[in-house]
């Protein structure tokens, strides 16, 4: 038996000891312990250092509001900083370390800050560290940064797995204490789909530490009976270890389930944490009430613990927080702690009651000091005495722990996350949630009904109303009878007067009463200002203990009601949630799905090096033996296509089948160039604008029959164009008879380009594809040898004689292999995006590198394509705005370096020769650049002010990022075959 472990009692399994470590010490606890209860049992009260003054701090609570007992659990990449020991379930092998101390928890150099505290009051940062100016970043900030922060984030890859899951229910019950249990039971019996979620690893909430009897049984036995019935109901799902952290629109709740946080070696097939999104028709908030700390001198000394927490440690965990406990209370709850501790044989040094009178009965022989307050505490790393003041007389009461009980704060966090303001109850001296609609109903202690009988009743009654609301009928049953009921009454005490030491409001952030006073004095009296100025409530506990006390203090200091001060804003997360849990499986390579082309395998077999292109992987180039760089492969591919032929996978381009009697009219309105009279069997390049007149996307569209077109889009905007078309068809022109659907995935499509492309293809295609029979821009169905139906388009991005052949996706690889086989004799090669890019730059063809959402058709040289005849098309009207037609707009030109061995990089800017670099002198920029194997030097496409008038002029290509300046000649952007003889050959 350890120092503070009680001889008996508690819901721990004394036959199952668990070994664990704290700061390197080997300790033992029991199954059913939290880390905090096990630490207390081992006399390890001191667990951390505070944020600012590095004061020694001990465990204060037994739950999620813990401000002090933050530890790092685990090692290296597999560690969790800032874990609350009070909610960490103990397991064998748990390895915990204290934080924010150097060199050790007992001796911390940072504590020197405490001596400097007069200089470090609220807002001190803002008034100082300004002299000299340069010192902030070099000297002051690094010191402050190093001193701040709590645990250490390792920033190494997390070895654990996570996942997300959806759940749906009629009623979500949040909290499994008396209110939640009765609500779940009532609703479950009525047949509702119920989810009962609780953050604790054991369901039962406050009942687990309760000494009152319910239905003539212990509270714990009553709990077990209810849980057994709930487990038997197939429509009830119980979710222990699940924190509901947020309430979102449409009654969707975010919750995180700690699936394997309590095991030393998690199973690989299960996540360690699982994020739930729970869509609940109704929810019941049964989160109970938090005991309010008392603000008195020396209240942060290790050993000063919430009275209710002490009760929980004794009754649920069989641990005494001290051997001789002084109790400071402003209500009846302190007496209950006294009674329970006394029953366990703990000495009660005294009960210090701030009230003048009360009907409460102290345990036999315990001294009660009324109208008194604690004004200071003695001891260093554990309290050894309480300095009590009454009527001007001081006395020191020896003790090794002080229980404090300052009343109750209902836990209304979730109810106020969506903008509702908490409202002050003068009766209950606390803030309650307002009516937030019938989606979320607050019940039990969370609604200010503190008695056990009241909670049991309220939970059941509210569930009855919800069930009826949803159309379920409930069976009536009698409310459980409670014996030894509690008295929750208290008298508000925001500040215990006469403090002889710092009286802390926010323990973790070291905010004390004088800081609040200073904020008020300096004009930061608004509750949000006070929070931000003092940092009260901004620590990891988000003001669960400190928030209401700060409001009370601000009110008291100004002589106004807390109602007029209000609370700060409640926001997700109720308790902090790990990034990993919120991200689930969507991380690393699975951050976004991968799309694979039907020719992916073919490309792989041909030596492709892939690059991601949106969600797709596309071949960048095809490496052959001996080629050391991408450039070598690319240059070879380009030359080969200009001389022989090449095959490129273009399956990723969007393909949209457009049908209907109004299909041509629809396309005519969609594109800025005409489509009405496109003949059947022909393809046409189309330019699509946004309504603001800028180019949106481009591609070829072919007419396969009178009422059937197939459109291609760029890979990048395939989805966007589809949505745009749907918008136009459904919103703008719902009366046009047009239907369309994507066939992108149905087809494997390959571009076959080069002077020998026809020779290669004709060997495979049964139909005649001579220039006469299948001229440039021909499009239609063909049959491949072997009878395979395919689509063939004579279009060219490279400027060569070129075709695009589409076959059903499953047959893509086989057909590509066949093309390569037939092409072998003609020197065919596979080529990738790099070569494609060079070929199109040489030909002056544009991509999204040119359009970039800021370019008009005229900027890109398509001015004459835009139909002046059409009455309407998307983008027509705003194209005529002054700024879009101004003479000094940047227009697309070609550039070639005057010295052919010099290089041009995309992203370089353009200056007149001799002009000084400045934003005003900036003439344009390079949109695309490459080495042209065909011409033997670099070439570029660029946008230049009034560029088309300036062919033959020289500009400076200014690339300061690379430290390069190159003089280039402005030229027509079509570098290769401007007469289109190759295209039409």
């Amino acid at each position: 038996m350890t120092a503070y472990r009680l001889a008996s009692g508690g819901l721990i399994d004394r036959s199952a000891p668990l070994d664990f470590r704290f700061d390197g010490r080997n300790l033992t606890g029991f199954s059913g312990d939290t880390l905090a209860s096990a630490l207390l049992a081992n006399d390890q009260l001191l667990v951390g250092r505070s944020f600012k003054y590095h004061r020694p701090r001990g465990i204060v609570t037994a739950g999620p509001s813990e401000p002090n007992a933050l530890v790092t659990i685990g090692k290296g990449a597999d560690s969790d900083p800032n874990t609350k020991a009070t909610v960490a379930e103990l397991y064998s092998g748990l390895d915990a370390h204290s934080q924010n101390r150097f060199p050790s928890l007992k001796y911390d150099f940072g504590a020197v800050n405490g001596l400097l505290s007069p200089f470090l009051g609220a807002g001190f940062y803002y008034k100082t560290f300004m002299w000299p100016a340069a010192f902030w970043e070099k000297v002051y900030e690094p010191i402050i940064r190093k001193a701040a922060g709590l645990g250490r984030a390792v920033l190494e890859r997390d070895p654990q797995a996570y996942e997300k899951c959806w759940a749906h229910c009629d009623l979500l019950v949040i909290g499994s204490g008396p209110t939640g249990l009765m609500a779940a039971l009532t609703a479950g019996r009525a047949g509702l789909r119920v989810i009962l979620a609780d953050e604790d690893f054991r369901l039962g909430g406050s009942l687990l530490g309760e000494t009152a009897r319910v239905n003539d049984a212990s509270a714990q036995d009553f709990t077990e009976t209810v849980l057994a019935e709930l487990r038997s109901l197939p429509n009830v799902t119980m979710m222990p270890r699940t924190t509901v952290f947020g309430w979102y629109d449409d009654n969707v709740f975010g919750a995180v389930e700690r699936v394997q946080k309590h095991v030393a070696l998690p199973q690989a097939k299960l996540p360690v944490e699982r994020l739930w999104r729970i869509a609940a028709k109704r929810a019941l908030l049964a989160t109970g009430a938090e005991e309010r700390p008392l603000v008195f001198g020396g209240n942060d000394r290790p050993g000063v613990i919430m009275a209710g927490a002490m009760r929980t440690y004794a009754n649920r965990f069989g641990v005494a927080a001290g051997k001789s406990v002084a109790i400071f209370t402003n209500g009846s709850a302190g007496y209950r702690t006294a009674a329970d501790l006394a029953a366990h044989g703990v000495e009660i040094a005294a009960i210090i009651d701030s009230r003048a009178e009360g009907a409460d009965v102290a345990p036999d022989g315990v001294r009660v000091i009324r109208s008194a307050s604690v004004i200071d505490t003695k001891g260093r790393q554990r309290v050894c005495g309480a300095v009590v003041e009454r009527s001007g007389f001081e006395q020191t009461i020896a003790c090794d722990a002080i229980a404090m009980s300052g009343g109750w704060n209902p836990v209304i966090h979730l109810a106020c996350q969506r903008g509702a303001k908490a409202i002050w109850s003068e009766d209950l001296k606390t803030f309650l949630a307002p009516d937030v609609g019938n989606g979320l109903v607050v019940a039990g202690a969370a609604a200010g009904r503190y008695t056990l009988a009241g909670c049991l009743k309220d939970g059941a009654e509210k569930a009855v109303v919800i069930a009826a609301d949803l159309g379920f009928s409930t069976v009536s049953h009698t409310a459980p009878a409670v014996e030894g009921e509690i008295d929750p009454s208290f008298t508000a005490l925001w500040y215990s007067p006469g403090a002889k030491a710092k009286a802390f409001v926010d323990f973790q952030n070291d905010v004390h009463v004088k800081d609040i006073g200073l904020a008020l004095r300096e004009g930061f009296g608004h509750v949000e200002h006070a929070k931000r100025y003092t940092t009260n409530g901004m620590a990891t506990d988000q003001g669960k203990l400190s928030g209401i006390n700060a409001t009370g203090l601000l009110a008291a200091m100004q002589g106004i009601s807390p109602a007029d001060v209000g609370t700060t804003t409640f926001r997700p997360f109720y308790t902090p949630v790990a990034f990993g849990a919120l991200a689930g499986t969507s991380r690393d390579e699975h951050a976004a799905p991968v799309r694979k082309s039907p020719l992916h395998g073919w490309a792989q077999r041909n030596g492709a090096v892939f690059v991601d292109s949106g969600l797709w992987f596309r071949p960048a180039y095809f490496s052959r033996g001996g080629e050391k760089t991408w450039r070598e492969s690319t240059d070879r591919e380009v030359r080969n296509i200009r001389e022989n032929a090449g095959l490129c996978d273009v399956s990723t381009l969007g393909k949209i089948e457009v049908f209907g009697p109004d299909a041509a009219e629809f396309l005519n309105r969609l594109y800025c160039n005409p489509f009405l009279k496109l003949p059947v069997g022909k393809a046409r390049y189309g330019l699509m604008l946004r309504e603001d007149g800028m180019v949106y996307d481009d591609g070829t569209t072919s007419r396969l029959s009178h009422e059937h077109f197939v459109m291609t889009t760029t890979t990048a905007l395939a989805g966007g164009v589809m949505s745009h078309m749907e918008y136009c068809a459904q919103v703008h022109w719902p009366d046009l008879k047009v239907r369309f659907c994507s066939s992108t995935d149905q087809w494997a499509q390959m571009a076959i380009a080069g002077p020998k492309a026809r020779l290669v293809l004709q060997a495979l295609v049964e139909d005649d594809i001579s220039d006469a029979a299948f001229p440039f821009l021909a499009a239609g169905a063909v049959t491949l040898r072997g009878g395979l139906k395919a689509r063939l388009f004579r279009i060219s991005f490279s400027g060569e004689l070129a075709y695009e052949l589409a076959v059903p996706a499953g047959l893509g690889e086989a057909v590509a292999d066949a093309v390569m086989e037939e092409g072998m004799a003609h020197g065919i090669c596979a080529y990738g995006l790099e070569a494609l890019n060079v070929l199109r730059i040489e030909k002056g063809h544009v991509t999204h590198a040119e359009f970039a959402g800021r370019v008009t058709p005229d900027d890109a040289g398509f001015g004459r394509m835009v139909s002046a005849q059409k009455p309407d098309f998307i983008g027509k009207r705003l194209s005529t705005r002054y700024g879009l037609t101004a003479a000094d707009r940047m227009q697309m030109v070609g550039l070639k370096p005057v010295e052919p061995d010099q290089h041009i990089r995309a992203g370089a800017h353009l200056l007149r020769e001799g002009a000084k670099p400045s934003t005003l002198n900036d003439q344009g920029y390079v949109s695309s650049a490459c080495f042209s194997p065909t011409l033997g030097h670099d070439i570029a496409l660029a946008f230049l002010k009034s560029g088309r008038e300036r062919y033959g002029e020289r500009v400076v290509v200014w690339d300061k990022l690379a430290g390069a300046e190159v003089v280039a000649e402005i030229c027509n952007p079509v570098f290769v075959d401007p007469g289109n003889t190759k295209l039409n050959s």
């Binding site: 959806w166 082309s597 039907p598 089948e657 049908f659 239907r739 995935d745 499953g810 086989a814």
Partner: protein, 186 residues
């Protein structure tokens, strides 16, 4: 010279050729299916709906108002396309998607729990009834989901996403040791 072309399934390299040990929760992948997008012409939605309902052996999946996927394991893409064209002549447009879509069949006692890891729709049998089908998001991928039995669902995904969906389903099913294999029949 005559040629034959061998069709490939996107999961060819990922699933064993021979069926392995089948767990209680299983992902069955037909090697081929005939799938046709059916789009009702303006004003013909009702008659196409009726026509499809009478199409016998063909499974009809709702994808949007006036739009369906017709799926058949017994017909060839050509025959399905031809039969539908005859049945619904002058009332609908058709696009063959047999190569553009991949079918997954998920069955077993835990299928709802597996699918809940990716799909937001409430799959309680009283809400998403047997015979219901709809396009839904599964993780980051849009699929067509159909309930074919109390514990049986069919997922149809775009071919380019098939491997990504397969990877996701394996992760979603790892808790239940989900097995996967090509259909013995198909």
């Amino acid at each position: 010279m005559s040629r034959t072309y061998i069709s490939r399934h996107p999961l060819d390299d990922l699933l064993p050729l021979e069926p392995g040990i089948r767990a209680v929760d299983h992902l069955d992948v037909p090697r081929s299916s005939a799938i046709v997008s059916v789009m009702a012409m303006d004003g013909e939605e009702a008659s196409v709906t009726a026509g499809l309902a009478a199409s016998g052996d063909v499974s009809i999946r709702f994808t949007g108002p006036g739009e369906w996927l017709a799926v058949s394991q017994s017909e060839t893409p050509e025959s399905l396309h031809r039969n539908l064209s005859l049945l619904l002549a002058e009332t609908a447009y058709f696009v063959d998607q047999s190569d553009g879509r991949v079918v997954f069949r998920l069955s077993g006692p835990n299928v709802r729990r597996i699918l809940a890891k990716g799909i937001a729709t409430d799959l309680h049998p009283a809400i998403f009834e047997v015979g219901t089908s709809s396009n839904v998001l599964c993780g980051h991928i849009s699929i067509n989901l159909a309930r074919t039995g109390e514990n049986e669902f069919e997922l149809i995904v775009m071919r380019s996403f098939a491997i990504a969906l397969f990877d996701d389903l394996k992760v979603m099913g790892r808790e239940f040791d989900l097995s996967a294999g090509f259909s013995v029949r198909g």
